[in-house]
Structure formats: structure tokens, C-alpha cells
Amino acid sequence: MIDTPGKPTPVTGATLDEKIRNARTQLDAQVRDVVQWHFNPETGTPFWLAKAKTFNFNPLKDVNGWEDIKKFPVFEDDWLRGGPVRQWVPKGFGDKPVYVFETGGTTGLPKTRIVLDDFKIDYEMMSDTLPDKSFPRGSNWLMLGPSGPRRLRLAIEHLAQYRGGICFAIDLDPRYVVKCLKARKIAEAQAYKDHCIDQSITVLAGGHDIKCMFTTPKLLAALDEAIRNGKLEDKYRELGKAIPSGGLRSIKSAGITGIFSGGTEFTPQFTREAYEEMLDNGDVYMTPTYGNTLMGLACSKPIGPEDGFKISYYAPQPRAVIEVVNPENFEEHVSYGGTGRVLLSTLTREFFVPRFPERDEGEREKPFDKYPWDGVSGVRPFAALSGGTVVGVY
């Protein structure tokens, strides 16, 4: 499939230092372009044009690169709750069709984010990191994740299409699961999960040549449990199909070769368990990702036993930037290896989010050849905020 316009060119350079410099140059240019777009009265975003009147600086003149992003106040996610949603659509896009994606939504208003093509570009960039051997071009996908007003639903379908495949999906409403858990209806939440897994087993038994899938850590574990307990074989029998010799008691034997996983917290222990116990010691390739509706998604370094299943994420720079900062002073980066709060900036013409404090913390990671900018590892709920939220339900 042809690339969606706006996909950045890969950073070049003969050495890591040169790549780091070139990546920074690319980021500075992106900041200038995006700020000029969102704050220009002709093309700008109504929300930002109004907000600029409260600033003690002029974004069009005073923001000339990444360093100047600190001039913007910290982004408050409550700004995204409630309408009018059109305030977030830059005038420069005229009458182009707009999607809206939502997060949360079990209590009060969900956060909303408008999108035109960003999810396509993000996932095309992500596609470039997937090994063709494990994610064969032209093979079909199963989207075992949230449906409804979620970005993931369309994004995974686009990823499958971009790679020449067709994506099957299930119905999954995470808000219902959160309601069950808050009401301590454990059995009902479990029954709903079983319902979701049953849908995916039906798709896998349908003879659709599915080799790739997206899933969340918990649903991956639930799918593995179901297949290991013979649910896929049962479905074959129910459909009158012959069970292949060797059986269908593992994700590998179900024909899956590559798994793109994310959506909720990913721990090294879960990654190890998946690698060793669900995915035949890495025979089925799995790549964790970190992301959300605001940012897009960050890819991880390849995971494996050689580095203790450590998961390090790198944002899709220059379209988004992850910083690991002192929770008491967002302008201060922690040292490499140090722990801090994740600060996120999204820098696209569709959506401008400067310096948004995520509800996560982690350790700052050094740039490396593939991603010559800072990353974050050990991502987990920010300790000072955790405890009040039901997370990772699907």
C-alpha cells in the first residue's frame, strides 16, 4: 500500500552521534512547522488560537525549535473532556473528514481526540519495524482488543491493510468490564472476557489464514489459556472440521506467527512468561508497544532473555516525544537510568499536545542506532497517582 502523506523520512547518519544530531534537527523543524500551523489564524486550531491570547509569548515568533516547547504551559487532559470537538480541528484542513477517538469514559466525560490521518501514519511507521518473517505481507490479522470509539480498532485494521492483509475484529467494550470490576462483579467480568475469547476462537477456527494479531497482555493470556484448554479444538469439532495432526493447543499451532501487543501495562515478567510459556520460547514473535490515543504508539526494542526481558519504548519522533522528568519539576530530565514521570508531547499538524504529564513513570533510556533519541523503560502507573483507577481491564 502507498504511504499516507506526512510520514517522516528515516533519520540518517554514519554514526550514532550524527544520527542523534540529525534527529534533533528534524525535531526542531517539526516543532516550527507544527506551531506555525496550529497558531496561524488561517490554518490554526480554534482551541490554540484562543489559548494563545493567554500566553505571555507569541508562538509564531518565539518558538523556533524543541527547546522552546517549554514556553507552553503543561497540557491539561481535562481540556479534552467535552466539546465542542470542532475546536480541535485545524482550520487548514477545511472540510476533510474527521474521526474522533475516545479514552476512558466510565465516569464522567471521556477525553476526545480528533484524527484525520495520524493513526495511519503512526501505524505505517510502526509497520516498518515489524519483521516480515513473523508478520508476513499479505497475511490476515485478528484484532483482539477494544472496539467502539477506540483508535486501536481502526489503527490495527489500517496496519493490516497497509501490509496487504485483511483484519478480523471482535466486539469488546472495556467500559462494561470496568463497571463490572468496580461493582465487584468478578464472575460477570470473567464471563464477558470468555465471550471475547470465544469470538476470537471462532475467527481463528474460520479458516481465514490469520497469521498476525493485535492483543493486550491480559487477552493474550486468556487466549493462551483457552487454546491450551482445547477451546480451539472444541470449536473445530463444533464446526465439523478435522483437527490437524499435532493438535491445536498453542497459539503457535493455531497458525499465529506474529503478535503486536499493547494497550495496557507490560511488565518484563509478563513478557518473559509470554515468550517462554505462551509463544514457544519466542517462536511466535511478540513486540510490546506503549501508546495511547493522544500520542500514537511507541515501539520497543526487540525483547528477549538476553537483557532480562527489559522493555524500552521509543516515541515515533519527530511526531511525538517522550521525556522522563523529575515529577516535581517537569523541566528537569532525570539522568539516564533514573526514574521519573513520563512527559509526552505530540507534534503533528492534526494534533498539538505540548508537555502532557502521563499517568506513568519509568526509567530514562539512552538513544541507540535505531531510535537516536531518548526512550523510557519499566513503564508503570505513576506511584503518586496509582490506586484510584481501574487499569488494564482488557
Binding site: 468478578i186 493470556a221 493462551d224 489459556e225 491450551r228 511488565t267 512468561e273 510459556e277
Partner: protein, 474 residues
Amino acid sequence: MIQIPALRFGKPYTSLDKATLIHHVTGEPVAEVSQVTGSQIARDVGLMERAHKELRAIPIRDILAMYKKAADYFVNATLPCGDAELSFDDYVRNLSATTGSPMVFCKRNALKVHYVLDNIEEVIAGLTRGLDVEALDKGFSNKNGRMQAFYPTTNVFGAVLPSNSPGVHSLWVPTLALKMPLLLKPGREEPWTPFRVLQAFIKAGIPSQYLGFLPTDHAGASDILRLCGRSMAFGDDRTMAPYKNDHRVEIHGTGYSKIIFGEDQADNYERYVDIMVESVAANGGRACVNASAIWTPRNADKIADALAKRLGPMKPRAWDNPDCEISAFAKPEVAEAINNMLEDGLKTPGATDVTAKYRTMPRLVTEGRIAYLLPAVIRCETPEHPLANKEFLFPYASVIECPQADVLKRIGYTLAASAITEDPAFIAEVMACPHIERLNIGALPTNRLTWDQPHEGNLFTHLYKQRALALASA
């Protein structure tokens, strides 16, 4: 620092996720315990059908002999504990260090576990109501022409365990003798007793593939209760609420245990002060069989005063002091919260802290990293008072006056009751009372247990169901 792995039915497993246990007094790390996930538990439970089949094939007499050996090893041998080897005294010291329960309590309760291991045949006979143990090999007994046959209700028994007292482990110990694979989820601060019992079993010859030691979080504990065909779980009323109607889960919750005086003995209360003190305060008052209320038709003020006079002067002592009577709270904020609940209750008119005049220091005592709650005897004027039917993690008792004719209608759920009476008519009423689970009649404290009788359920009838069986050859 000791590294304690999970035991995944024959395979020690060192996880990347570990819980660090610290010494409640010094804050020094004592051990790291490998944690497993719910999906790992699910994978292991999936293998239990085969394990169960293999375990069933071992003759019961061989298993009972292994229990005897395990009993000896439990108290006399140096046994592996992860990367360490622990003597019985080392084990008791570690147990006390991470739970805050004084060493003297830990040792006393650990010996209850030893008792069950050492007297397993007697315990099994009690639980099966005298069934020939060979019935566990054959699946039936045909003694004196009376056929009794049973079939297992599960392939594995799961136990979600607490951290408050090692005595509770006596309850799951008979599982293997009932030829059932065993999956243990230890309490966060108390991996020591389950791990040591399993090591004693392994040293005694019980194959490790029938034994699971799977430390996990709350979600993993829920998975155990979901996946095991039969299980037991310890928790407060709120935690256990989702399982209240799940017959597969034997719930061990709040005890609300009580002493009940009959009309005939209420005037003789002074004879029973020792029994009341033991019922309320033994083991730091933290067990579900500790009395949390005393009901009497007369003399409530005098009973409260007599009890307070004995409990009020109790003082905190160091965890390794053999005279220690009060358990420490490793988390002072928990003690503070309990104390606040009690103080809030006292704001409702009709309740008096009778111990206050006998204490030489405040009820809440904070020392360094830890806190203590000193005993409280609360005289409640009516059974409706908010403090009349409460249970806390320290020696606490309300004293309530209520006519004998009404008492059994008003006590509510009572795990263990000691009815202090010699009146045959009242004894008959107490015997028929559906609110009481464990019943002691006469001068016995509420915490006096026999392990061959049911405790919030009978392990044998939990794991086996009776069936009709006819044999053409018989």
C-alpha cells in the same frame, strides 16, 4: 536476603516480579518472594488432572507414613527455603520478623501444624467420620455390609492463605492425605510456613509435582478461586463477598466468636475469667476463633470489669520476648485506622471502654516503625450498639447483657462459641442454634480446637462427594 522461589508443581521458578519482605521492627529486607501471574497459575492448573491421577495411585498407607516423617522434619530438620537452609528456630524467627506476630505465638501455632502432620490418621478419621482410610485407595468402603462410596470433586485444591497466624495452615495440611494435589497461595508476609510444610513433604517422599507454592497478587488469587474445582480462602467480609454463593470456595472470614453465659453460671463469672482472657487475647487476639463478644443475662458490668482488670495492664513487649502477649502492627497506619474506628464507635452513647482505667498508656502505642493496640473491653449497653458486634485485629471484646431467652436469636453468625452453662435445657437450645459453627459447652475457651472436626467446612466433604455404588461381584 533469602530468595524464595515459587514452586510450580515440581519446578522451582524464580520470577522477575518479587515481593520484598521486611523485618517489622528494623525495616531490613528479610526475603524476596517470586510472584507468579494468574495465567501461569492457569497453565499449571491445566496439568493437575494427570497429577491427580498419579497421586491417587499412591497407597494411602504410604502417604500416611510420609506425613509422619514430614511431621518430624517440620520441627527437627533443617529444610531448604529458597537459597537458604532453615532450622525450625530460624523459621520461627523469620516468621515473626515479617508478620509482627511475636516469636512465642509463632512457635505455639507452628506446633499446631506439627500436630496435624503427626496425627494425620486421627485427623482423617475425624474428617471422614471413621471411614476406613483404605477407602481413599478404593473409592469405597463396605464395612459391615454398609456401602459408602465417594468421588473427588476436583483435580486440585487451592488455598488462598492469610498472613496473620500460622495455625490456620493446619486446615489444608490433610489435603494430600485425601489424595488431592495442593496449590497454595501464601499470604504476602507469611510464605514461611507453607514453604516449610511443602519442603517437609518433599523430604518425606511426596513427589513435588503434586505441590504448588504460587505467591501472587489479588488478581492471581481470584484466578485460583476461579480455576480450582475446590478451594479455601481467607479474607474479610468485603473480600469474600463475591464468593459467598460459590459452593466451590470454602470461605474463612470474620469469626465473630463469642462467649455465652447461661442464667445458671452468670453469677459465677469469676470462675471463668481465665477462660475469657484466653478466648479474647490468646495469640494476640487476631484469630477468627478469638472471642470478640461476651453475652450474659446478668452482671455485664462486673464481667467487663473483671476482664478489663486482667487485659488492661498488658503492655507491648519485644517480638522475641517469650512473655510477649501483644502482636505488633508492621503498618502503624493500620493500627491507627482501627483505633479511629473504635474511637468513632465510642462516640455513640451507650458504650464504655472499661480497660481505659486499667491501662498505664494509651490504647495506640507507636514505637519506631511499628505500632501496638492494647486490649480493649467495651461494655455495650445494648446489642444494637455499633461496637457490640465488631471484630478487630487485636484483643477486643464487647460485653453485652441480654436475657437468655433472646440471646441465641440475636448473636448472629458465630464461628466459635463457648456456652458456659450446665443447664440441660439451654444446652439443648444452643446445640440447635444454626448461627454457631464450632460449639464448646462448659468451661472451654473459644480458641480450643480439635483438628479432626470441621472448621468452617469439612475438607473431606469439600473434596469428595458421596455416591451410590453397587458392585455385581459383592
